[in-house]
């Protein structure tokens, strides 16, 4: 696998990744701020009150966005974990580890906003419904991943164990969802949370989509930033990291670092073979 044949492979070198993230994050921050502000404006000043729920439905903009993001980030984390397990690409572990805190945060926020929406809508902060229960389990999986990653003495070992946990969890979450859904429906009749209520006004839908996009960009920006810091902390001796910290990383330096890490990678593979 040369870095020529697969273009994205170039960014498995932390130096290249760092430079790419450096270029992307300002745009991501700006886009996130813009989209979230637009979503808030449309959501609060254009969209009308909902017929049945009144004003409380406005919580849903943030609730849907964070819930979706939490799930998406878990799958992404498991994917990076799987990549790390198979190909031992260090950058994949850095990405997975950087996703975890933001994913846990999003999952927590979706539970929190869901409870505050549920209280006036169903008259209770919490029900043992499939979605809520599996989201809670998802939060624990994120926390377990973080705890396991940090618990091993050696970072590589911790990363691989945590990656394996992430992959097992990704297989388990649907099973948990279906088992709890089945259990709940048997006991309580049909779920109180119906898949779709009355049809949404177009402005509500616009606000929701904007908020989802805004949260998505926010998460991307935070995760890339955290991955940058994580990469710096893991390779403090490398030349590129010192240049990056000083705020001057030249193209040649990047290329040198990339070549160095490719050499390191191939020599590792030879060592294994």
């Amino acid at each position: 696998m040369s870095s020529r044949s697969v273009p994205w492979l170039k960014f498995t070198a932390p130096a290249n990744f760092y430079a790419l993230a450096q270029r992307l994050t300002p745009w991501l921050w700006a886009g996130a701020a813009l989209l979230c502000l637009a979503a808030l404006y449309i959501g609060f000043f254009v969209a009308p009150a909902e017929a049945h729920q009144g004003e409380s439905y406005r919580i849903l903009y943030i609730h849907v966005a964070t819930a979706w993001m939490g799930m998406f980030l878990y799958l992404l984390m498991a994917l990076y974990g799987g990549i790390y397990l198979v190909w031992r690409i260090k950058m994949a572990d850095i990405m997975a580890r950087s996703i975890a805190p933001t994913g846990a945060l999003m999952t927590f926020l979706s539970l929190w906003t869901g409870a505050l929406w549920g209280a006036p809508t169903w008259g209770t902060f919490w029900v043992w419904d499939a979605r809520l229960t599996s989201t809670l389990v998802l939060l624990f999986l994120f926390l377990g991943y973080i705890a396991l990653h940090g618990a091993a003495d050696d970072r590589e070992k911790g990363g691989r164990a945590a990656s394996l946990l992430a992959v097992i969890g990704a297989i388990n979450v649907p099973i948990i969802y279906f088992s709890v859904d089945w259990w709940y429906n048997l006991h309580q009749g049909s779920s109180v949370i119906r898949a779709d209520g009355p049809s949404m006004a177009p402005s509500m839908l616009t606000a929701m989509l904007l908020m989802i996009a805004g949260i998505w960009l926010y998460s991307a920006a935070v995760v890339l930033r955290r991955a940058q810091v994580e990469a710096l902390e893991r390779e403090p001796r490398s030349e590129w990291a010192q240049a990056a910290a000083a705020g001057r990383m030249t193209r040649t330096q990047r290329e040198l670092a990339a070549a160095e890490s490719v050499r390191e990678h191939t020599s590792q593979e030879e060592g294994q073979a």
């Binding site: 389990v137 618990a151 164990a161 709890v180």
Partner: protein
């Protein structure tokens, strides 16, 4: 596997400790809830199943720890059999020694909590199908937390969320048997979980062991 089994049998104390733990947890329920038979009966499936899950968790904590410390786990890595088979054998031995007694005891404990007749049979069958899955999942956790600080508490955090489906289906089967007779669906889903776990989870256990031994 025979070696593991004989090892566990010679350490009869471990078996006794886990069985005693199982019985004690179940005893806590009537003490906390009060002796009202009707209330106890409602709680019985949950009580027995939660106790079984906790007993499985604490007994699995040290499944690989001793072998890991004295280096015999590394020898297993070099053995002619694939690590997956070795892992499966170890879990099977562990379940036969520590899981099966819980299954055998469960009708008596269920009776003490007010279950009767066919419900006791369903309880035993649900545990028979469910506890091997718990053992396999717990073994993954035990392998992942090998050589880790505060391994026991961390293992609970990792593994208890994954126990949820088994617990839901197992306790659900018994509850169904109490109010209607539609418990076959629960039991067959539990069987499906076991059928999926038996080939897949040993792979995960072997993977986790390799990480710990690297």
């Amino acid at each position: 596997m025979r070696r593991d089994l004989s090892l566990i049998v010679t350490r009869r104390q471990d078996v006794l400790t886990v069985v005693a733990f199982f019985i004690l947890v179940i005893t806590l329920f009537p003490l906390a809830l009060g002796p009202d038979p009707q209330k106890l009966r409602t709680l019985a499936p949950a009580g027995v199943w939660v106790a079984a899950a906790l007993a499985s968790l604490i007994s699995l904590d040290r499944l690989f720890a001793d072998d890991w410390r004295d280096g015999s786990l590394e020898q297993l890595l070099l053995a002619p059999e694939p690590l997956t088979v070795v892992a499966l054998a170890k879990v099977a031995a562990h379940w036969l020694a520590l899981g099966l007694p819980l299954v055998v005891l469960s009708p008596a404990l269920g009776y003490a909590l007010g279950l009767e007749g066919a419900e006791l049979g369903v309880l035993a069958v649900s545990l028979l199908l469910g506890t091997p899955v718990l053992s396999l999942l717990g073994a993954v956790g035990a392998a992942l937390t090998l050589g880790v600080r505060a391994g026991g508490a961390l293992m609970a955090l990792l593994i208890l969320p994954l126990y949820v489906p088994v617990l839901v289906l197992g306790a659900g089967a018994v509850t169904e048997a109490m109010y209607s007779s539609a418990f076959y669906a629960h039991l067959s889903l539990l069987g499906a979980l076991l059928a999926a776990a038996l080939p897949l989870l040993p792979l995960a256990i072997a993977g986790a062991l390799r990480i710990a031994l690297d």
